[in-house]
């Protein structure tokens, strides 16, 4: 299907069916007589959302990357449908966030019902002043399709379909330049060796690479079965996440209803452990369950049906030599909370800039150890939330069921019990609080933007036009200076210039406070190369607890690295060294 690129521009208008797209296998140069002269810097295995995001991010960092996939098509079925604000912020940086939001169904509100009574409503984004909603619902094949189209725009990103990894070998000394990985890749034309400095295994929950390396995951498998029925219909339900405990139309079990684009609705029925998965997938069984929810007159067609069980588990370590595991290959969670694909996309963004820094010689190889440690603790957090939700939805013992039901009964009349109702704690970015890359605060700051937190968005003005703060941060290390009514003093100006000339190029953003609009209009000239933003609504100042002169050092993945009340170039240099695992800051 060579013509995909030419029709993709108007993909949605032309009604591309991303589910049926097929991509052509082509023999690569290693197979056409030539041998591979040098190792590729990065090989990514698996063209799902995590592999695609990793490959795009690495390529955007200017590092050539080869992406191999054993198949030649996108996701079968809608699968992961809930993409979080953080994922959208990342997709924005990768250049395809707007398409996702345009196509997706945005939502912020969830409702929980006991029987047919509403017991609890939550709003995941109760404040305004954010570019992206708490969530969009979008079928996984669209997410993959849009990522793939973005990937194809990058000349240093090569995709190889029908390329299955059947062997893996690591050579050289870990941490040295000669350390490398050789994959044996099986294609319709036979096998060939593919050598890379680093390999990212984003090859899914059954990870062939994990198996080839004899590695394992540990955790819990839950004894319950769930039915996914994607149905196509015209319906009047609001764009909210609806969760029922023990509804009259499906007694003693739970049901989850979600809206997707194209008039598709996801209905998730808890079935219990004794359900027969093969039987429950048949239309004869599924249609009456859907009809019980929608009423006897409802007109709908089944789009996709699946029966699944799940586990909460992870690999003990996400780094093994020069092989780095990301997404489902490294960790698995229950679907309640949408913490699977979303955490995988966060793995991707955590890893991409670190690979680029190490490969360019700006960081030591030890930086990649922090990919593992940061994302292992993020996985623990996701697994903890996911396990707690599952224990609430699927109580494991009689007494657990008694307490669950007691909470639901109390929740109708008592506000305190509503905070215990757990139908899924929806994905928010992990705060990398204990990361070795953080520089601890030496001054007091209030609010959420602690070192290790993903940066919060805020509305700003750029060149007189409305813009968003997050669009200006990340991709490379960013220094964000808050400028008050008094402007910027000479010492701070000198420090900014010193940072611009430093060993690690720093992108500079100056946030001008609302009350300083007049006095500092000449800033653009004075600070050549800095992006000057106007905090017209004062929300950036509030969200970052900023005082005039406050300075934030922000990682390429938009996480806060360090912050001070006053800019001191020396301290920023030290924090940068720490964030790159280089010399003298241990």
């Amino acid at each position: 299907m060579q013509s995909v690129h030419s029709v993709e521009m108007d993909g949605d208008k032309m009604g591309i069916n991303y589910q049926t797209l097929s991509f052509e296998y082509q023999p690569c140069r290693e197979q056409q007589g030539g041998t591979q002269a040098t190792a590729y810097p990065v090989i990514v295995v698996g063209a799902g959302p995590v592999g695609l995001a990793t490959a795009i991010d690495v390529a955007q960092q200017g590092v050539p990357v080869v992406l191999v996939d054993d198949d030649c098509s996108l996701s079968t079925g809608s699968r992961a449908i809930c993409f979080s604000k953080r994922s959208l912020d990342i997709f924005d940086r990768l250049g395809c966030g707007q398409r996702m939001v345009d196509k997706g169904i945005s939502w912020n509100v969830g409702k929980v019902f006991l029987k047919d009574e509403l017991v609890y409503t939550f709003n995941l984004l109760p404040e305004s002043g954010h570019n992206r909603p708490a969530f969009i619902n979008l079928q996984q094949y669209y997410v993959e399709g849009y990522l793939l189209e973005r990937a194809r725009e990058l000349p240093n990103l090569e995709i190889r379909w029908k390329s299955k990894v059947v062997g893996i070998r690591q050579d050289g000394t870990l941490g040295d330049d000669d350390a490398n990985v050789t994959l044996t890749v099986e294609t319709p034309d036979g096998q060939y060796p593919l050598c890379g400095r680093y390999v990212v295994a984003a090859d899914g929950s059954r990870s062939p690479i994990r198996n080839l390396m004899g590695l394992d995951t540990h955790g819990r498998t839950f004894k319950d079965r769930f039915l996914i029925a994607d149905v196509k219909m015209e319906a009047e339900f609001p764009t909210e996440r609806w969760f029922w405990f023990d509804p009259p139309f499906h007694p003693n079990q739970s049901v989850l209803l979600h809206r997707q684009p194209d008039n598709v609705w996801r209905i998730d029925f808890q079935l219990g452990w004794d359900a027969d998965p093969a039987l429950e997938k048949t239309p004869e069984r599924v249609i009456p369950r859907v009809r019980a929810l929608l009423g006897p007159e409802a007109k709908f067609e089944l789009e996709w049906v699946s029966v699944y069980t799940f586990s909460c588990l992870r690999m003990d370590r996400f780094r093994h030599g020069n092989v780095l595991f990301a997404g489902d290959s490294a960790h698995g969670v229950s679907p309640f909370g949408a913490r699977g694909a979303n955490s995988g996309v966060q793995d991707a963004e955590n890893l991409a800039w670190k690979l680029a820094m190490v490969l360019s010689g700006r960081a030591s190889d030890a930086l990649l150890d922090t990919y593992a440690s940061e994302r292992e603790s993020a996985a623990d957090e996701n697994i903890r939330h996911s396990t707690r939700s599952t224990d609430f939805i699927t109580p494991k013992s009689a007494v657990s069921r008694v307490f669950r039901d007691a909470v639901l009964k109390l929740a109708r009349d008592h506000a305190f019990a509503r905070q215990l109702v757990n139908s899924g704690r929806l994905s928010v970015p992990a705060v990398l609080r204990d990361s070795a890359l953080n520089t601890a605060d030496s001054e007091r700051f209030a609010g959420q933007m602690v070192p290790g937190a993903a940066c919060c968005d805020a509305p700003v003005r750029l060149g007189g036009q409305p813009a968003w703060l997050l669009q200006q941060l990340g991709q490379q290390f960013t220094g964000m200076l808050f400028c008050g009514a008094g402007g910027i003093d000479e010492a701070t100006c000198d420090a900014l210039q010193a940072l611009r000339r430093g060993a690690i190029p720093l992108k500079l953003v100056v946030l001008v406070s609302a009350d300083a609009a007049e006095g500092v209009s000449a800033l653009d000239v004075a600070l050549s190369g800095a992006t000057v933003l106007h905090d017209t609504e004062g929300l950036a100042k509030t969200r970052y607890d900023a005082t005039p002169g406050a300075f934030y050092l922000i990682r390429p993945d938009q996480h806060v690295c360090a912050r001070w009340r006053r800019l001191d170039a020396g301290r920023v240099e030290q924090a940068l060294k720490r964030a790159l695992c280089v010399g003298g800051t241990a």
Binding site: V399, V402, F403, D405, A406, V407, K409, L410, H414, F416, A417, L420
Partner: protein, 79 residues
């Protein structure tokens, strides 16, 4: 030690009577539900996490001890 295990009930005998009376005419399932709701209501009223953990530790230790005694009795009977 944040959990107060010294006498603190304003009307101990009245409380105990009311506690038993809360279960009047209930079957086991209803009693279980009432107990669970009572625990949740009281836990929220206390609020402090350390205090709640300490109370749970006492309760668990007490129940485990009771089980242990039974096992011990069974063992000596076998002997």
């Amino acid at each position: 030690m944040t959990l107060n295990t010294q006498p603190n009930l304003a009307r101990p005998d009245d409380f105990y009577e009311a506690l038993i009376d809360m279960h009047r005419d209930f079957d086991d399932a209803q009693s279980q539900s009432a107990n669970a709701q009572l625990i949740l209501l009281l836990a929220n009223h206390i609020g402090d996490h350390a205090t709640l953990l300490e109370a749970m530790q006492h309760a668990r230790a007490g129940a485990a001890q009771a089980g242990g005694k039974q096992q011990g009795a069974a063992a000596s009977f076998d002997a």
